[in-house]
Symmetry: D2
Subunit: 455 residues, 4 copies
C-alpha cells in the first residue's frame, strides 16, 4: 500500500519547493509533481519536512528505585504528537556495570516504542572492560559516547578518564559527547548553599552558574583536541559555554553545541516563583539562565556556531520532584519538552524571523542526523530515505497544557504558552502516527537505528 | 538522447553515496542504482559532484582601451577544464553610465560562452537613474549588487552612497556585495610609496595592508546591518577581515566571506621575487598575505565563518602588466585561477585533511548557489537540477603550467604546482565538455542564468 | 604663607598612606608626618587625592548665535565644587577659520576661570593653513587634536582628511583624538526618522545606535595605526566601541577610551520619559545606552581597557533645548556633569566595590594627566606638583539638585540622586576653593596649562 | 653615612625626570636637585630606576637528593649583577609536610642572601593542618599561595583542593597563584611519547602543548572567580593562556599574567638543536613556544593584559640535566635568567620600541610590588622607600656568557646574545652591590620582606 503526501511544500535543510511525496514500505519512493497513491494525505498550505530528531532524551531512566515518568511508549508518543520521529536515548551503566549489560537493559525498555530510536552509550567509569566493550558497542551501531563532568560521586569522570575515553573514541571513529559542568565546584557550591540554609529549588541555579559550564566546556574541547576526536557538547545553555565552542570552531576544531528548547525560551526567573512545585519542576542541569544568555544561544543558531536544538527530556512527576523538599540537591534533575520542541522553536524561531524554515529543519533534524551518521536515512526528504516526515501546518495553533498532552507527567514547563505551527500529519516510516492532529501511534512500531563509525 | 554516469560515488554538500546519474535534455532525470542510457560515462573510482561555480570573474573586462585577456569563450573553457561549470561576472558601469546600458554590454560579450553564467551588477556611482534601474536589473534576474570601497576616483563609492544603495538592495530583496579596502588610505599610502621611490610591484602589497581591508569590511557590515540587507564580502584575504565577518556572524548577522584560492595557497613572498614580471603577474587587490593570514582563511572554511572559494579571475597578460613598470599603481590588478581553483583546493584542502569532500562541494558550488538563489538548479545533484556535473578523479594528477592551460594568458601564478584530483568528465547541462581529460567545449552552449529576488 | 593638610590618608593612583601635605606658593613642598603650616586644613577621616581633571568640556561654546550656558567662570566653579581642579576645553575653529584665530578666541573666554585649564584643538577642515598652524599650536602648548567623524556638513572630516591630520599629529608628537560616530549614516537615519514623523528627543537615540559608534571607532583606530599616532577616543559609550578599543589594545596599539559619567550611570530609558523637556535635556551624542552597554564600560574601567572618566560638559538650558521642539536634530547636543562626576563615580564605582580608590584617582585624574603629558604637574600628590588637591570626605552626602548647584543650567541630569563622598576641601594651586563644603572660588585664579609634545 | 646618586634621570613606572637621590640608613631620604652626600654615585647619562623584583625563583630547590644549583648566595648575587634587588622564592612543602615546617626550611636557606627576598607558600596537598597553617603563614608575612595544576603524582592539586585553597586565600586576604598546565593530559601525553620511543628533550615540548596551558589557566580563573580571590598566573607562555587571562580581565576579573624573559626571547627551535645538552638545558615548563606565541606575549605587555616579567630561575647544571638522558620526563625542569632578565628585556623591549622605559619599570618591578603588597617599600623611587635602586646605563653593553656570569650554573640559555643596557650601580637598601659594573655584594645583607594581607 502506498501513501502519498500531496499539495505541500517540501522544506529541507537546504531547499524549499513544491512537490508530492510517495511512500512505500516505510521509505520515500518518489518526489515530484502529480504523484498518486493508495492513501492520500493532503498537505495544502503545509510544509513537508523531515521529522524531528531529538538526540537527547532519558526515557524510563532509573532514579532512586523508580524511573523517569515517560517511558519509550509515552515518550515516543509525545514525540510524534509534536512532529519528532526519532529519539536518541542515553544508556547509563551503573558504576562498575559493563557497557553491554547496560545496553541490553536499554534495549529491553524499547519494546513499545512508537517511533524509531537510537542510543548513546555513557562512560561512567573507566577500566579495561569499558575499553574493550566500547568496540563491541560501536559494532552494534552505537557510535557516540557520553561523558559527565558533573554529578560528582555518581556519573562524573575525571580528566584522566576523559582523555582515555576520548582517545578510544578517536580510535573507534566514534563521537565524543560531554555534559559540561565542573562537578567539583558544583558539589562544593551546593554544600555551601545547603550549609547556609539555602535549600530551595532556586539554590539549584545558584549552585551551577554559567561559569562552571563554560569552564568544563573549554576543558572538554581541549581534551578532545588532544585526543583528535570530534566533540558534541550537550545542553549548551549559556554564553560562557557557547564562547568556548565558538572559539574552538574558529580554530577549525570539529565541535558542536546543542541548546535546549527550554534554555531558548525560558529563563532563570522561573526559579524565583514562590510556588515550590513550580520552581522544582523546572530544576534541570544546567539550570535556566538570564535573557542575555538566551540571546547568545539564538545568535549561535543563526550563525551556525550552535548546531542542534534538543530537549534533555527527562520527565519527573511532581511527586518525584518532592523528594527534594528541604534539600534542593535531592530534587531529581529534568524537565519535559519532547512534545513541545518543534512547535516552540517554530513559534519563537521561525515566526519571529530569527530562523529560516530551512534552518529550522537543520537544527531540529538534519544536522544531528549528519553528526550522528544516520543521514540521509533520517533527517532527509529524499528518495530512499525513511519516510519519517512531518506535514507542518503553520496556521494551526494551540495553548500548551499538561491536561491535553501525550507525555505522562502531570505538568508542563511551557504551560499556557501559545504555539502556532503544529503537525497536521506525522509519519514514522510511513505509518501515519498523527492524522489531522489526532494521535494514532502504533506501539512497538519503532525500531532501533544502528549507526556506522567514521572511517 | 540520454547520458548516464555510472559506477561513481555521488558527493554533494551533505551526502556521499554510490549511485548512477541519468541525464536528459540537460537536466538530471534520475539518480539510483543500475541506470542505463545512450551514452555511458564511466565514473569508476571517481566522485560525481556538482560542477564548480566561480562567483567572481572579470572576463573581457575593459581596461585602458584594451581588455582582460580571457573572454567568455576562453574563460569558460578554462573553467570547464578545471571542473567549474558556471561563472558569475561583474557588469561594471562606467561613471555616469546607466545600469541597463552596462548590462547590455555585458550580455553582448557572452555569445561564445561555453558554460552557463550570470552577472552581478556593480554600483559605481549614485543617482536617481541608478536607483530606478536597480529594480529593472533585479527584474532581469540580476539580484546581487557589488560596491567598491577602494579604487578612489574610479569605482569607489562613499559611505553615504553605500548606505543608499544597500538600502535599495534591501527593498528589492537583493544581495549586497562589497570589495572592502579603505580607498582613501590606500590612495594616500600609494602616493607616499611612489613619492619615496617605491615603484615596484612589492609596493602594491605595502599600499594595501590587512588593516585597510579589515576596516572596510567592518564598515560595510555595519552599514549593511543598518540597511537590513545580507552582505557578501568578496575576496576576504586576511584575519582582519575574517575577524570582522566572524564577529558579525556571531551576532546573528547574515554575512558571508569569500576567500580566493590564490590567498589560500600563495603568500606575500611572491612579491619579493626579484623578477619584476613574476611579482607583477601576482599583483591583485587585496594582495597576497602572510602565512598567518592563510591559516585564518583555512580555519574559516573549516568552521563555516567563511563560505565560498572563488578566484577573482581577471587575466592580464605580461604585456599588459608592464604598463605599470616604474609605477606600481599602473599595474593592472588581477590574476588567473579559474582553471585551477578546484584542483588546487582539492589538493591543498581535501587531500591534506583540512576539508571533507562534502565541504569541498559546499565551498566550491553549493553555498554560493544558495547565496545567489540559483540552488538547486545549480550546485546540486538532484533530479530536476541542471546536469552541471564534474566526475572527479582523485587519482589523476598534473603539473600546472601556462604551456598547457586553456586560459589565454601567458603565465600561471600556480606554475609548477602539482595537483592531484582532476576532472575525468565535466558536463555543462549534460553536454560533455571535458571527456577523459580532453576538452570538447561547445562555443555558445552557455546560457545566462537569471535569479530571483528574495521575498 | 603655607597651608598644611593634616591627619588625612593620601590616595594616589598607586598608593594609599597616611601623611600630611605642606603647600607653599601653589605647589606641594613636603609630604610626611607631623607637618605644620600657617593655615591648617583638617583631613581627619578623609582621603587626600589629586584634584580631578575633566578632559572633555565645552564651556561658553558658540551655538546658533548664543553659547552653552556654563562659561569658564561658572563651569570651573562647578568643577571645583565637585572636586575637579582642571578642565580641558575644545577650541573649535569654524570651517575655514585658522587654528590660531580660534585659539585666541578660546583664550579670550578664560579670564574669569577659577581653576587651571588647557585646550585641545579641533581639526574641522583641512588645508595648507591648518597643516602649518598645527605646528604653532603645538609650540603654544596644545598637543592634542580632536577630529569629528560625525556632524556631517559641519565639523565632520572625511577619512582622507583624517589620515592627513593624524599623520601630521604623528610628525608633531601630538595626540590624535576622535569623536567616533559614522556621520553619513547618522545623517541618513536622522532624515528617515524625521521623514517618518519621529521628531521627538527619543529619535535622537534611534538616529545614532551603538553600531555607528563602534564602526567609527574601529575606523579611526585603523587610520591612527597607519599614521603611527596614539589615539584617544572621546565619550566611549558602548560595547561596540569598547570592543574595537580593546581589540586594538590587545594588538599592542596605543589607544585609550573615555567613558562619560553619564553613560556609566544613566541609560536610554531617560529618552522614553513622556516629558519632552526631561528627554531633551539628556540629548547628547552619543546618546545614553542600555544597561548591557553600561556593564561593558564598568568592566573596561576595571580591566584597564578604558582609561578615563569625563563629562563632555556642554550645558544648554531648557530654553536652548527647546530650539529642537518638533525636530530632534535641532536640539543642541550636550548635558552637564562637571560638578557631579567625582561624587557620582565614587558612589557608583568605589562604594559599590567596582573600583578601588586608587583606580578612582587613576581614571579621574592621573591617567589623563599622563596621556595629555601634564603629569606630574597635575594628577599627582608629589613634592613639586601643583597643589591641585581634593580632601575627600567619604561620609559626606547630598542629594543632587539643580536648585543647589554651581552650574548655571536650570536642571541636572542626575537630579534626585544621592551621592555619598564629597569634597571637604578643594584646592586649586593651594588656593582653598571649597572649604568645609562652602564654595570660595577666586575668579581669574585659573591659568592655562601648556603641554609638551612627545619626542 | 649618606649616599647620593647624582646627575641621573629618575625613571619610575609613571614618571621620568631629572633629580638626585639621597640615601641614609638604607632608605631614600630625599629626591631633588643639588643633593649632596658622603658617597657620591655619578649617574650621568643613566636612568635611576627601582631595582628589579623577580617574583619567581627556585633557589637551592630540593631535587632528587640534590638541589638546584644557585642558592640564595649565588642567586641573589646574580640578581644584583643584573639590576634585580629582590627575589621571591617558593616554599615547597613535601606531600604531608606542614606549611610552617617548610617555611622554616626555606628561611634556613637564606642566611647568605645578598639582597632582600620574600616567599610564596605552595599548597601541594590539602587537609585541616594546611587550612589552619595558612593563617599562620599569612600572619608571618607570606600572603601569596601557589598551586600546581601539573606535576601529577607530586605537587599537583585537583579542582576540589584548588577551590578549597582558593576560598581560604579569599578569606585570608591572600593572593592565589597558579602553575597552569593540565597535569592529567601532560602525564598521559608524556607516557605515550615515551612509549613511542620519543625520549629526547624535544619530546618535553611535545608533551605540554599550549592547549594544556590555556585550558588550565581558564580553569584556574573560573575557580578563582567562584572563590572570589584575585589570581596570579605564573609563567604565561602562550596565546592560549594569555587569551584566557585577557578574556577574564575584560570581564572585570582581577587576574594577572607573568610572561618569562625566556618565553619572550627564545623559541621552540631551541629544542630541535641536535646537541642533547643544548636542548636539555632549555627544558622547563611550560616549554618555549613558537614566534606567534611570543608576539602575543609582547602585545600583552604593551596593552597591559600581561603584567610582570619574571624568570622562574631554577638552575640545574648540565650534570643534573643528564639525569634525564633516555627519558625526557627525568630531565629536571628549569633554566636560569635571574642575571639576564633586566638587560634582555631592555634590549628586546625598550631599545626596539616595544615598551617605554616606564613600562619597563612597571613590568620588572613596580607592578609586582603592588600585586604582592610590598609597594612602595619596594618598586618605587620615593622618599621613605627602601633604597633598592639600579643606575641603568643604556650605553653599556656585553655579550652574555656563562664564563663571566655570577650564577653558578655552567651554561646560559642566552649564551652569545648581545645586550645593551646594564647596571652601572645596583643598590640593595643603600648598599652598593654593583659599582661601575664590578660586583661587591655583601653576604647576609638580604632580609626577609614580610607582606600584609589585603583587608
Ligand atoms: Zn546532562
Ligand atoms: Zn541529559
Ligand atoms: Zn575586488
Ligand atoms: Zn573582482
Ligand atoms: Zn563629541
Ligand atoms: Zn564633546
Ligand atoms: Zn611552574
Ligand atoms: Zn616555578
Amino acid at each position: 500500500m502506498t501513501t502519498v503526501i500531496k499539495n505541500g511544500t517540501i522544506v529541507t535543510a537546504d531547499l524549499t519547493y513544491k512537490a508530492d511525496v510517495l511512500i512505500l514500505g516505510g521509505v520515500i519512493t518518489a518526489i515530484g509533481a502529480g504523484l498518486s497513491g493508495d492513501k492520500v494525505l493532503d498537505a495544502s498550505g503545509c510544509y513537508v519536512m523531515p521529522g524531528g530528531i531529538d538526540p537527547h532524551t532519558h526515557l524510563e531512566m532509573p532514579f532512586m528505585g523508580t524511573y523517569s515518568s515517560d517511558d519509550f511508549e509515552s515518550g515516543t508518543r509525545a514525540a510524534l504528537a509534536g512532529g519528532t520521529t526519532m529519539v536518541v536515548d542515553f544508556a547509563l551503566p551503573a558504576p562498575g556495570q559493563g557497557l553491554l549489560d547496560a545496553l541490553q537493559m536499554w534495549h529491553n525498555k524499547t519494546g513499545r516504542a512508537n517511533c524509531d530510536f537510537s542510543f548513546h552509550m555513557a562512560i561512567t567509569w573507566w577500566g579495561e572492560q569499558v575499553f574493550n566493550e566500547m568496540k563491541t558497542v560501536v559494532d552494534q551501531g552505537i557510535t557516540s559516547f557520553k561523558h559527565f563532568l558533573a554529578y560528582k560521586g555518581a556519573l562524573m569522570v575525571n580528566d584522566d578518564e576523559l582523555f582515555h575515553s576520548f582517545s578510544r573514541c578517536a580510535d573507534l571513529g566514534a563521537l565524543a559527547m560531554v555534559h559540561a559542568e565542573n562537578g567539583d565546584v558544583v558539589a562544593e557550591l551546593s554544600a555551601r548553599l545547603l550549609a547556609a540554609g539555602n535549600t530551595g529549588p532556586e539554590a539549584h541555579a545558584y549552585s551551577r552558574p554559567p561559569q562552571v559550564e563554560g569552564e568544563a566546556t573549554n576543558r572538554a574541547i581541549m581534551i578532545a583536541d588532544m585526543a583528535g576526536v570530534p566533540l558534541y557538547v550537550v545542553h549548551t545553555s549559556c554564553e560562557d559555554s557557547h564562547e568556548a565552542i565558538r572559539r574552538a570552531r574558529m580554530q577549525g576544531k570539529r565541535v558542536w553545541g546543542e541548546p535546549l528548547i527550554q534554555h531558548l525560551t525560558l529563563d532563570e526567573s522561573e526559579y524565583f516563583n514562590p510556588d515550590w512545585d513550580h520552581a522544582a519542576r523546572r530544576v534541570m542541569s544546567p539550570p535556566f539562565r538570564s535573557k542575555q544568555h538566551q540571546d547568545s544561544l539564538w545568535a549561535g543558531l543563526q550563525s551556525g556556531s550552535l548546531s542542534v536544538v534538543a530537549t534533555d527530556h527527562c520527565a519527573f512527576t511532581t511527586a518525584q520532584k518532592r523528594f527534594g523538599m528541604g534539600d534542593f540537591t535531592k530534587i531529581p534533575n529534568g524537565t519535559g519538552g519532547l512534545e513541545d520542541r518543534m512547535p516552540m522553536l517554530w513559534t519563537h524561531g521561525v515566526a519571529t524571523g530569527r530562523l529560516t524554515m530551512n534552518e529550522f529543519v537543520a537544527v531540529t533534524s538534519t544536522n544531528i542526523a549528519k553528526i550522528l551518521n544516520c543521514y540521509p536515512k533520517k533527517g532527509a526528504v529524499l528518495v530512499g530515505a525513511d519516510a519519517d516526515l512531518v506535514v507542518w501546518d503553520p496556521a494551526k495553533s494551540k495553548v500548551i497544557s499538561a491536561g491535553s498532552q501525550q507525555s505522562s507527567i502531570d505538568y508542563n514547563v511551557f504551560e499556557g504558552k501559545v504555539v502556532k505551527g503544529l503537525p497536521r500529519y506525522t509519519l514514522s516510516r510511513g505509518q501515519v502516527a498523527v492524522e489531522d492532529g489526532e494521535v494514532k501511534t502504533r506501539e512497538g512500531h519503532g525500531h532501533f537505528v544502528g549507526r556506522e563509525a567514521r572511517p
